[in-house]
């Protein structure tokens, strides 16, 4: 029978509409559910974007009732909801939240989950779509996927869908990522798999494509002929507060941030224009960038292009801070990097010879994520005898991802006066000052997209594997070579090690001052 068309659907909002579904959250008693997922779903509801008969099932090990679970989530929502907490809306929203206690590896728990979902379907009068959200510890991903497959929950009733959303980290190297991809692929089709990277849900990350491809001003200049270098910075002023040292010391900056978030930003900045905005068209172009990264093979190549470092004792915002190895839950002999800087080249026609510098680190002076595109200097013929301001004479386009999302452009102007002196000035667009309304949280957008079947802002398996392939070579040089590149050091509260500055100085560049 042909699918009936809802005549009242209107392309009112230029945004995705979620389809009726049940979201099953594995690891539902964790911080992510309480702090991000439920407030995101609540805010989707507050915007009127939740589908009818929507249900949430929290799946976790601890024993608790629906009422207790709802009360905990309500408390979390009061603290974390972007649009505040409305009793009437929460009451309607919360009555559709349920709790399901089970071990992740217990087949009986999945039988009971299936019975619960079937009961919801009977109450609805029709089978619903199912979205399984893996918000548990990463080591539970494979057992959960195995159990979903064994119980048949991975198969949706006819005309419906079953999808899975995987939180990061998606593997810890190429081997584990492939193994996980194999398990996912045995359970869900790739089109039903949504690997979340919350950076892609951020307004400015999405705006990169608009900036590049909707403005005739930039794209003709977006190549090696006009661009001198590109810098991507992700600075954190935090260290290992809140017990995060335990996880971080097993991951490090390269695996925790570069492989996923920063490579996603790099792809968006460097990719070719997609033929359309479908998920696969965009992701095809993004993965080409990762594939075209010039590999760094062997300790010499890694030492020449990558700087790793840990912070020593110092101070941030006037508060004394211990060094990385003295942090809670960090191995005192740790060789895990809290900072990494990379010089990358993308071997394509467009980007030949243009260095892409990436730096990410903990305990830097401030929290900031941004991309800066540094244009080549003009010939300066008419101004050859005029004193310019060193590197600051170049035009720079800055895309601020967080905080204070926006776009700034640095240009040169003539200083007022009789003399022909030039001065750099900044044109600055800030989302928060131009638009009074707050941007949706990244999770709101991403959850809505997953429910609507739009995978554009999610990583595809080949993106993930190609990124790991590149990262693994660096890890190999660091941890498994006879002459590993040194672990550098920087005082907490500084902008990183001197070696990272030297990395750019070799090319006649310097890190942008944030």
């Amino acid at each position: 029978m042909a699918e009936l068309e809802n005549p009242f659907e209107e392309n009112l909002l230029n945004r995705n509409r979620a389809e009726p579904c049940t979201v099953v959250i594995f690891g539902a008693t964790g911080d992510l559910t309480n702090r991000k997922l439920i407030p995101a779903l609540y805010n989707v509801a507050a915007c009127g974007d939740l589908p009818p008969q929507f249900k949430v099932v929290g799946f976790a090990r601890r024993d608790k009732s629906d009422e207790v679970f709802r009360a905990e989530l309500e408390e979390g929502n009061r603290r974390n909801s972007r649009q505040g907490h409305d009793e009437e809306l929460w009451s309607s929203f919360a009555q559709n939240i349920h709790y399901h206690r089970s071990e992740f590896e217990d087949p009986a728990g999945y039988v009971r989950l299936k019975q619960l979902l079937d009961r919801f379907d009977r109450e609805r009068g029709a089978p619903a779509n199912r979205l399984f959200y893996l918000a548990s510890a990463p080591e539970a991903f494979v057992p959960i996927l195995d159990m979903l497959r064994a119980s048949g929950l991975n198969h949706a009733p006819q005309g419906r869908w079953a999808r899975v959303v995987c939180e990061k980290p998606f593997g810890k190297d190429l081997i584990t990522a492939r193994a996980l991809n194999d398990t996912v692929a045995a359970t869900f089709a790739e089109r039903d798999t949504y690997r979340i990277d919350h950076y892609l849900g951020k307004e400015t990350a999405q705006n990169i494509m608009v900036l590049r491809f909707a403005n005739a001003l930039f794209e003709p200049n977006w190549n090696s002929r006009y661009i001198d270098n590109v810098q991507i910075t992700c600075a954190e002023n935090l260290g290992m507060e809140g017990g995060r040292g335990g996880y971080y010391d097993t991951a490090g900056a390269l695996r925790d941030m570069v492989q996923n978030h920063l490579f996603q930003l790099l792809s968006l900045v460097a990719m070719e224009p997609p033929t359309d905005l479908s998920a696969d068209s965009v992701r095809d172009e993004k993965v080409k960038v990762i594939r075209a990264l010039r590999p760094l093979i062997g300790p010499e190549a890694v030492a020449a292009n990558v700087v790793r470092a840990q912070y020593a004792a110092g101070s941030v915002d006037g508060v004394a801070r211990v060094g990385y190895r003295q942090e809670d839950r960090v191995n005192p002999q740790s060789m895990t990097e809290a900072y990494v800087a990379l010089r990358l080249f993308i071997d394509t026609w467009r980007w030949q010879g243009v260095p892409f510098y990436i730096r990410v680190g903990k305990r830097l002076p401030k929290k900031a994520t941004e991309i800066s595109v540094h244009f080549k200097k003009p010939p300066q013929v008419p101004f050859a005898t005029r004193r310019l301001l060193g590197n600051s004479s170049e035009n720079t386009l800055v895309i601020r991802i967080q905080p204070d999302e926006g776009i700034a452009m640095r240009i040169l102007c003539k200083q007022p006066g009789q003399a022909l002196n030039m001065q750099q000035v900044k044109m600055d667009f800030r989302y928060s000052s131009s638009f009074g309304t707050a941007s949706p949280e990244a999770y709101e957008r991403l959850l809505l997209d997953a429910m609507a079947g739009d995978a554009t802002l999610f990583a595809r398996c080949d993106e993930v594997e190609n990124a790991w392939r590149f990262i693994d070579e660096i890890q190999r040089a660091w941890h498994y070579s006879d002459k590993p590149p040194p672990m550098c050091e920087y005082p907490a509260g500084s902008w990183g090690p001197r070696e990272a500055d030297e990395l750019l100085r070799q090319d006649g560049h310097q890190w942008r001052l944030l």
């Binding site: 009936l4 809802n6 009242f8 009112l12 009127g48 589908p51 009068g125 000052s433």
Partner: protein, 368 residues
Amino acid sequence: MSNAALPNGEALGLEVPLGSIERSLQQIWADDQAKTRSSLINFAIYSEEAGDLGRHCADLEAITAQHSCRALLVVNLAAETAPARAWISAHCRPYQEGKVVCSEQISFVLQGADAAQVQNVVFGHLDSDLPLMVWWQGSLKRCFEERLYSRIHTLIVDSSRWSDPAAQLQRLLGAWRSADFDVRDLSWTRSHLLRTALAVAFQDGKALEHLHELQHIEIVHGQGHRSAALLLAAWLGWRLKGGKPQPAAAAPQDGDASLQWISPQGGTVTVAIKAAAPAADQAAHSCALLSLELSGGGMSVRIWRQSCSSFIHIRVCAGEHQHEEVMPADSVSDAGLVGAQLERAGGSTHFREVLALLPHWLEATGSH
């Protein structure tokens, strides 16, 4: 113009000569480093009524709190020609680190100005390169001329405030055909989330299966919001592929309307448009649309707004199957509706279709 009608200088800001508006505005920003000027559009309110200055200023303040713009308030009084007067002010909101972000407002009071003069005043004080959105208050009367509307990017009207809807509609449609501007009607915006709620209700497969059995539609609107109900009815007729609306046999009560159309299946669908009883909850009357019900066969979908609360309730019944949902409702304030329009950027493609159908509905309800 009597002294009593003169605008309160405090509310409108600093009175400045027309020729030095830009210079005076620059002075505001030069004098205060903590203030940042921000502007994404030119937003103008045009009115030919003197009494609403305070309301317009409040509306502009509410709009600029969410949408940075250069705000223009143009009050053009039908009086003997007199020199135009101008005031400048700024609407500011906290930003960060002790800074504030401000939108400029320029207010003009004109007397006896024609379209050319209005055009000169408005177009002479736009923030260059930014689109112009004009919120036209009341009916499209003397200054609504081609030379003015041809420069507008988006025109906002409120058909619930039109004194002669059929004539106004013809005037608007004529202008729209001849010039390339976007039109938004607040009466249409008032049903935005109710229409969304209806779409949500029929995401339910059971309800959708029974939709072809539809026999009756009832729309209840607040006092003064018949146009919102008519636009909604016209949209429903169009989306359900109903034939041309005809007056129904049953005579409605005063102010109400009863219509019918023939469905594609050959059945008759009746549409009752009712004003809420005056004795009803007073709060309800600040709402344009209080309820919408679609019923027939084994299906009933009711969408309602209790006491004009911030939420819409949806009840879907299809045979034994039933459920209820809650969704956010449209703003009841005009400024809130305009803000919602600004957030949505592109207009509704459906509105253009519905506006073209509206004359049939006005005729069928005897409103022509």
